[in-house]
Amino acid sequence: MPDIKTEEMLLNMGPQHPSTHGVFRVVVRTDGEMVLETESHIGYLHRCFEKVAENNNYLQVVPYTDRMDYLCAMANNLGYAQTVEKLMQLQVPERAEHIRVIVTELNRIASHLMAFGTYGMDIGAMTPFLYAFRDREMILKIFEKLCGQRLNYSYVRIGGVTFDITDEIVADIARFCEYFEPSIIKEYNDLLSYNGIFISRTANVGVLPVELAISYGVTGPSLRGSGLKRDLRKDEPSSIYDRFEFDVPVGTGEMGTIGDCWDRYMVRIREMTESVKIIRQALDALPPGEFCDKKAFRGVKPPKGEVYHKVEGARGEVGFYLVSDGTNKPYRVKARGPSFSNISVLDALTSRGDCMVADMVAIIGSLDIVMGEVDR
């Protein structure tokens, strides 16, 4: 049919859309099934956390950090607490350091499970989601026992952690590790990772070359999926990560090209194994003693000065720039959410002319964003 009329179409995806993982809007210029160009719009969840932080004291800021990356709140708590501690030159008790590592890694697994489950669903596989939630629930139960919260923990605070970890919880975590690795991870691989349909939907799709990733400030599993071994837990161990043995999995282009969606996805699955390794070592090494600096818990007043500090969250570099004027309220807190930079690369990935509309959903999912920290 030679006289069929074809023309470009402008589509609006979001802000309310199940595949945008939150309130994220993309304006897509399409030509049939092909995406020609996209333009991202963010800010729908903006609540100006940084302004709120100026009006609260140092301890009151902690709950706001939870709500940035709500799927890996422990890492945000940790980043903020360590930033203040770095400015105060405050030493945290050994036991607290170990507990921090354990909860952050558990939270990383929970977050990657969420990424794994929803990614399957984005691609069209409903079942893995239920499996992921079955296991994520166990971690949330442990956290509930530990601090009464399932998502916004405010558990890691300036000077230590809120509650001590009991023997019962230690046993729970050990039991979870026993259950989870290796058998459950193998189950995930059988279910989704090596599924033929899944591979054909993700391999060679949304290839992110490492130079482009670095230029856009992409960090975390999305950067490691492009083959670069950059993990702040290894490169700049801020907590006690340098005492533990673990590997940093990177994308190798096993199923297609280095840096495709499958690589980014697989890095997360492999990271879960590494997190379990760290948790096991930290549980074994857990020393007795204090779990917090009681004086710091009553309120802190850091000296004048400023500091930038970053930790490895589940999505990449969680950074805080803190300016103190010597009072009990921070003069300025800047939060660098990894998703903010990670999602900025989307337009570059989808505007090359080789992207289908359905691939766009696969690409957004593989970047694993949380809008809470994009908009802050």
């Binding site: 963010i42 800010g43 903006h46 100006c48 940084e50 302004k51 770095k86 400015l87 030159q89 482009l212 670095i214 230029s215 856009y216 400030g217 960090t219 670069l228 950059r230 490169d235 700049e236 000065g305 400023e306 500091v307 930038y308 500090h309 970053k310 570099e317 950074g319 720039y321 300016v323 003069y331 300025r332 800047k334 660098r336 903010f340 930079s341 900025s344 690369v345 570059a348 908009d375 802050r376």
Partner: protein, 162 residues
């Protein structure tokens, strides 16, 4: 690990002897303060210099100091090659804060500069699309300025202060 922070500062100072206003190598988190005119040259230099190779821009942010009549723009740089980092601060006059965009050097700067423009009102010259990113397009004022007053209402939605 790469170079010490003081060594990095030395390299920058040798290249731009007149532009470095302050070298706080002894601070808790060392930083250097440079003149706004050299920002773009400095950005290209620290990215391409083989000893430095700051290829990853972690964040651009700003701090408002009304009593000093200054807005400081802060660049947090990171090197994935040498695994060292650097903080560069640029003081700008508060009534007309303007600085060259580094978008051509690091693509990250695109959104981070838009954010700094949105929240602090710093103009990044040469940015291809300097519009608000987090606040609504018709939002008035820049929230992270210290003297910012919340509007009483926005499009008929009253602002309730608790």
């Amino acid at each position: 690990m790469g170079l010490e922070r003081a060594e990095i500062h030395e390299i920058v100072k040798t290249k731009f002897p007149d532009a470095v206003l302050e070298d706080a190598a002894e601070a808790v988190d060392p930083y250097i303060v440079v003149r706004p005119e050299v920002v773009e040259d400095l950005a290209f230099f620290v990215r391409d210099e083989p000893r430095l190779r700051f290829d990853l821009l972690s964040a651009i942010t700003g701090v408002d100091y009304p009593d000093k009549k200054v807005i400081e723009v802060i660049y947090c740089l990171d090197s994935t090659v040498h695994k060292h980092w650097l903080i560069v601060k640029v003081p700008l006059p508060r009534d007309n804060p303007r600085v060259a965009s580094v978008e051509k050097v690091w693509k990250t700067a695109d959104w981070h500069e838009r954010e700094t423009f949105d929240l602090l009102g710093v103009t990044f010259e040469g940015h291809h699309n300097l519009v608000r990113i987090l606040c609504a397009e018709d939002w008035e004022g820049h929230p992270l300025r210290r003297d910012y007053v919340m509007p009483e209402s926005y499009r008929g939605i009253k602002n309730v202060v608790y």
